[in-house]
Structures are given as structure tokens and as C-alpha cells.
Symmetry: none
Subunit: 254 residues, 2 copies
């Protein structure tokens, strides 16, 4: 396979679509894969490929279509593969363990990282799925948990969910944190700043007669609690103090 794409563990995964009837689904699959960092698409006996419809539904993922390989049999598609997961709506062999897509994704990434495996996720034709003979060529069976039968899950949507779980498992494998929220840029307020704010707030409440100066405790406790549920930043305290001062001014000068 040519590899014009970033070098990651995900390059050792191929998505195999068997006898796909609708070209649009091949395009949707390419898009679903690419957004999650998967680039290897193998098409077994597609009804039509390449096609304008696939290109149009691939959106920005035309390069995945260009990289796609067409083969005559599933056997050929899996030739150099260590582990293949057959996607199914329900277990057909009672004795076979049915992995969820999440379990399968985690296991696949471990196999790639620890043993350099080549992995395939195999999707059957739209209406009838994989034949028993095709399932026999795979080492594992996998399903996407859902409310109804898998048959209602569009094949593009199924490949989106599988690609998403593989992307998550990849990130976990690399032990990288997911997108870090940049909460650090704004410094937290100091205790002194917070206390100054509560004092100022309380003074306003006395002036507006919202609080009885002889018994402020309970209400002020609630106010504190409300603001302390999360950490106020210095600039937020500054803003709140500005608001209070404007109220002060209005009350005294009017």
C-alpha cells in the first residue's frame, strides 16, 4: 500500500468493505475514516469504483479514495493481516465471543503497538452483511451496540463509529491527553481578593436592605457557596468588583 499519509499506528489498520452496492457509501466511508486519521481502504468487489458519487460524498477525503485498493476476494484483502474483525449485527456462532467496537478498538491498538500487527475491520454488503464463509476468514466478531438491529445502522455511520473508537484507542495508546482546555491563562483569585469581594457584596446588600445587618449569615453563606462552586479568577473578581462599585455610586449619588 502506498502511504502518503502521516506515519501513525493507525496506518496498520485497514477498513475492508465487501461488495458495497452504493458508491456513495464508499465516499462516506472515506470521509468518516479520514477525519479520524485512518487512510487504508480496501474494497472487495465493489459494484462500482471509482465513481463520481463516491468522490462527491468523500468531501475532503479524495486522497483516501485514491489510496484505496480494489481486490476480487476477502481472502486477498486479508492476506498479510494478523487479526481481522468481522462486523455483525448479532452473534451467528453461539460459541464465538462478540466484542463491542470499543473492546475491539482497544485490543487492536494494543496488538499493533506491542506486536506490530496488521489489523482489518471488515464490513459486509449493505443489505445482508457478511456471509458465514466471510466471517470464517476473520478471527474476531465485533458489533456496535445499538437499540435496534445493526441493519438499521447505515454502513457509513457504522464506519464512522468504528473509526472514532479506533482514534480514541490510538490516543489512549499513545498515552496522550486529549485536547487540553487552556484554563491556565487566567490566574485564580487569591483568598484576599475573594474575601474583599464578599465583604463588598455584603455591604451592597445592607445598603439595598436586602440583608438585615443583624442576621446576614445564612444568605451570605449561600452567596459564598454560589461563587465558590468553581474557582473565580482574578479578572472575574475585578469585573465583579467593578459592578459593585457602579452600584455603590448609583445608590449614593442618586
Amino acid at each position: 500500500m502506498k502511504k502518503p499519509f502521516p506515519e501513525t499506528l493507525l496506518n496498520q489498520i485497514r477498513i475492508v468493505m465487501v461488495r458495497t452496492s452504493h458508491s456513495g457509501n464508499i465516499g462516506a466511508a472515506a470521509r468518516a475514516m479520514r477525519v479520524m486519521g485512518l487512510y487504508n481502504l480496501v474494497l472487495v468487489e465493489p459494484k462500482q469504483f471509482p465513481s463520481q458519487e463516491a468522490i462527491s460524498l468523500a468531501s475532503g477525503a479524495v486522497d483516501v479514495l485514491e489510496n484505496a485498493i480494489v481486490v476480487p476476494t476477502l481472502e486477498e484483502a486479508l492476506k498479510d493481516c494478523h487479526v481481522a474483525y468481522a462486523t455483525t449485527a448479532r452473534p451467528r456462532y453461539i460459541s464465538s465471543k462478540l466484542h463491542t467496537v470499543e473492546e475491539a478498538a482497544v485490543e487492536a491498538l494494543q496488538g499493533i503497538k506491542n506486536e506490530g500487527q496488521q489489523i482489518a475491520f471488515v464490513f459486509g454488503t449493505e443489505r445482508t452483511g457478511l456471509t458465514n464463509e466471510e466471517i470464517d476468514l476473520c478471527q474476531r466478531m465485533m458489533t456496535i451496540p445499538s437499540e435496534n438491529s445493526y441493519n438499521s445502522l447505515n454502513i457509513g455511520a457504522a464506519i464512522q463509529v468504528v473509526s472514532y473508537e479506533l482514534h480514541k484507542a490510538h490516543k489512549k495508546t499513545l498515552d496522550l491527553p486529549l485536547i487540553q482546555a487552556n484554563e491556565a491563562t487566567d490566574e485564580l483569585a487569591t483568598s484576599e481578593m475573594r474575601e474583599g469581594f464578599y465583604k463588598h457584596f455584603q455591604d451592597i446588600l445592607f445598603q439595598t436592605e436586602f440583608l438585615d445587618p443583624t442576621e446576614p449569615k445564612n444568605i451570605m453563606k449561600k452567596i459564598r457557596h454560589l461563587f465558590q462552586k468553581r474557582d473565580l479568577t482574578a479578572s472575574e473578581i475585578h469585573l465583579l468588583r467593578g459592578v459593585l462599585t457602579s452600584i455603590n455610586r448609583k445608590i449614593s449619588h442618586d
Copy 2:
């Protein structure tokens, strides 16, 4: 909302699509939702609805389309909602925490189970996503981790991934005992209550001349953000409204 569907915790979740341009995407969303047991679709100003294209792409999920509600504004869509998640490609406020879809789904199901919350997941228009004003109406921001920018993720595929994570979280939630929140007696404020509070707060700031009525936006955004970091409860909103009213009275009568 009429509910011809199974009674589950997922019924307290609505998927909100804002100004969707392509009717086909509405159909794909309905299908993606239904297969994962989600039935409540709210459409804010769709370009066209109902439509033949939506029905054709909905496949077996025409009942979700029939159950869909069309409203003129996002505010209306979120009126009785306790927590709304804005879906975004990347954080727009530097200081805002960005939840992954998995975290958001788990949190949402806990909120429903423990506190009976109504939850919304909000998706913007295809090309440009949600406006900053629309994001401001939501309490949380959520993203689907992916290789490229979220923009490449088709909206139907995005709703499939979100629905899939909600379905997983639902299954997990059913397996867990009910967690008693310490503050369980105090309900979270609804979107309507919060918006009423911000409006009132802004009026006060105009009266105290803290805000220039011609350019209130930036400051009000900071105020919103400050309060939205915290989950305000109904009784807290009540308390804050009381404070504002006392200031009103003082300013007008002094």
C-alpha cells in the same frame, strides 16, 4: 413533546439542529438517533422541513421526523432545558473547559438519572457551526476528538457518534446504583430562568451606567461565562434575582 417511543432516560435528551441547510442531513440525523434509542429532534429554522429527501435518508426512522419539533430560535428550543451542550470544532473561549463527547454523555446521563434533568445537544449549521451568541445560550462546550478539524465531520456522522456515546452511557447508567447528589433537593435552573437573570443583570448594569447600552456584548459575555462555570440552581437564581430587585428598588426610589 408527544412520546410514542419506549420510556427511557434517553427521552430526556433532545438533539437540536440549528439552521440545517441540507434536508438530507435531517433524515440522516433521525436515523442515527433512532438506532441508538434517541427520539427527540428539535429543528431551529431548518431551510426546508418536512421534505422528501429527509424522509428518504431517514430510512426506518420516519417516526423520529414525525415527532420532530420546529422552532424559530435556539432560545425557544432550550426553554425548559437544564443543561445544553454546544458542539464545536475547537474552544472559542480560552478559559472554557471543552468536554469530549464521551465525558459529556456520561455527565448528561448522570444528570438525568440523579436529578431528572432535561438535556440538549446542539449542532450548528453545516458550514459554519454555531454562532458565538448561540454558544452563549449553552452551559457546556463539547467536541468530538478527531484527527483533523471537526469541520470535516459530516453533521449526520457527528450526530451518530454523539448518539452512540449517549447509548453507551445509558447502558452504563442502568448498571449503576442511583448516586445521591448532596444537593439533590435543589434543582438546577432552567435555561429560561438563567436568561431571565442575565437580562435583569444587564438592565441593572445599564442603570448603574456600568455598561454602555450601545455596546454591552463583551462584558455580558464575561458575566455569562462567570456564572455558567457554575451550575446555578433554581434557588440560587431566585436569590440572585432578589438581590437585583433590591438594587432596582434602591436605585429608583432613592
